[in-house]
Amino acid sequence: MNQRAHATTVLARRRILETLISPGFYVAQTIGLVLAYFLVAGFVRAIDSSGFDYQLYPAYELIGRSLVGAFGATFVEKLFSEGPFLFTLYIAFLPVLLYLAVSSVFRFGLEKKVGALELLTYGPADSTSYFLAALIKDILMTAIYLVVLLVFLLVAGVLNNLILGPSFYYSLIILFFLSIAIYAYGIFASSLTDNSASAIAVFLGLILFFIIIMMGSFTIVSGYVRNLASVFAWIIKWISPLFYWDLALRVAEVGNWGMYFIGILLLLVLSTAVLLISHLTMKARGVRS
């Protein structure tokens, strides 16, 4: 094993241990699972003889109306066509995804600011092994949580006589790869900045930017600006992980599994490209704050 790989393994092991002994990860998981519980329970209560009607349960009514307003009725129908689990998956995954991504970005900024990153790089570790270790930790923790969530929802399904449909499973897989790309963007934001606050601001700004592009909010402006914004959005969408996630989901719906795997591959390519840029940025900027 070469020295960088060895350093990455040691640092990743430490990061995983730190995550496992700190309460944050468990708090985020608990929040996710509690949300999942209420969403599944609420769904069951919103079923009458004619089937699921989100208006029958207050919380779902609020969620349903918001989603219809943002994405349209068809989207909401599709989201709940196989039961509550697809929607629950996204909602229950968010706290853990946000916790892992933001805590890594925060820690990166902090370690850079106080000189801990520099201390690690006095030896055989370098900035690349440092961020690869953080990424490995985040990927592993995500996989652990997705397994926990899957088991939780499978049990909930059995207890409520509901099944997890195929869209749940292909969404679960693509969500895992989407999270890798999001973590890569977290590392990219960290490589650009010198402290935790600015790193988190850049990271959340990037994610918000990608969400806005995906939702096509640029189209609300009119005339020349709209055309310009559309062209800009078209260019930008290729660097957005949400674009590949959306693409993979759309092709999976029609059973085009070849394109689905290409979507996953593109997410991995994007993640690798972002990591490479982060590596070069860090190399140019150094590990000192």
Partner: protein, 317 residues
């Protein structure tokens, strides 16, 4: 062991390090002195591969050095001025050191950690969380961390700043002991009296330029404008300084309580002649000491001369 050729670092228009040439042989304790902002840290960071030089080259262990050379980097140990605050606070001293031992892939690291902790007097606090450590204890822990992998070169940035006298002595003894074992040591410090005690050679950097570099003794002799001989007497007759002034090698003589202070030329040893003169005067010299320039005085001389020079240049403009 450490060589630099025309090492330069610029940040925009500001030149932090300007064409520094170093040649430090193996086994030397090398002191790197300079006021704040002189370019000390930038130089060290370039030698460590943390900061990329704008120009010039670095050779370590007779090989061209770049940050990519992880094999060379693992032969270096570094003790920064301050331990990162707020990090790894949940770890004990032993766990903290084990993390770095693992990073270096050390075998039998447990024994090495125990040995080094004992050497710096931290053996009993191995299982204590190091977030509870004092500044001095953290500094010692930092030195243990830097020595874990038995590096050939040890860089120390202000190693004794903030330590109590006992801690200063422990670190000084450790530095000397490490050097006796053959380790090359590069120290940057502003506590010049301590540098004087441990360094074989010193360099003074100012405004990014290497102003002086020599063996400690040579530098102090060279920089001294004159030398003083201090003679302690049982009693000091009032007319003695005047009589002493008549000696051909004496430049000046004054009396300070029971001590006769005689200024003599930089070259030659005049203690014997002075002693003979005093005995001829029926006086008993209790002690005769030649007072040379301290490193602190040498440092002030060099930096002040340069500050004055820069001020003059600025004034002419």
């Amino acid at each position: 062991m450490i060589q630099t050729k025309n090492l330069t670092k610029r940040y925009g228009k500001f030149t932090a390090v300007d064409g520094v040439n170093l040649n430090i042989p193996a086994g030397e304790i090398y002191g790197f002195l300079g006021p704040n902002g002189a370019g000390k840290t930038s130089t060290i960071m370039m030698l460590l591969g943390i900061v990329k030089p704008t120009a010039g080259e670095i050779r370590l262990f007779d090989e061209a050095y770049s940050p990519k050379r992880l094999d060379l980097r693992r032969r270096i140990g570094m003790v920064p001025e301050k331990h990162p605050t707020g990090m790894w606070t949940w770890m004990t001293a032993g766990e903290y050191l084990q993390m770095f031992a693992d990073l270096f892939g050390l075998e039998n690291s447990g024994k090495r950690i125990d040995y080094l902790l004992e050497r710096v007097g931290l053996g009993e606090v191995k299982n204590k969380k190091f977030s509870e450590f004092s500044r001095g204890m953290l500094q010692k822990l930092s030195i243990v961390r830097a020595l874990l992998h038995d590096p050939d070169i040890l860089f120390l940035d202000e190693p004794i700043s903030g330590l109590d006298p006992f801690g200063v002595k422990q670190i000084r003894d450790l530095i000397l002991e490490e050097n006796r074992e053959g380790r090359t040591i590069f120290i940057s410090s502003h506590i010049l009296s301590e540098m004087e005690k441990v360094c074989h050679r010193v360099a003074i950097i100012f405004g990014g330029k290497l102003m002086a570099e020599d063996q400690m003794k040579t530098m102090l002799t060279t920089l001294a404008k004159d030398r003083e001989i201090h003679v302690d007497l049982e009693e000091l007759p009032a007319d003695l300084p005047g009589k002493v002034k008549s000696l051909d090698f004496v430049q000046d003589a004054t009396g300070q309580e029971k001590t006769l202070v005689v200024k003599v030329p930089k070259t030659g040893d005049y203690r014997k002649a002075l002693s003979k003169f005093l005995i001829d005067q029926d006086l008993v010299p209790l002690s005769i000491q030649e007072k040379s320039l301290s490193l602190e005085e040498a440092f002030v001389t060099i930096t002040k001369e340069n500050i004055d020079m820069f001020a003059r240049i600025g004034g002419e403009k």
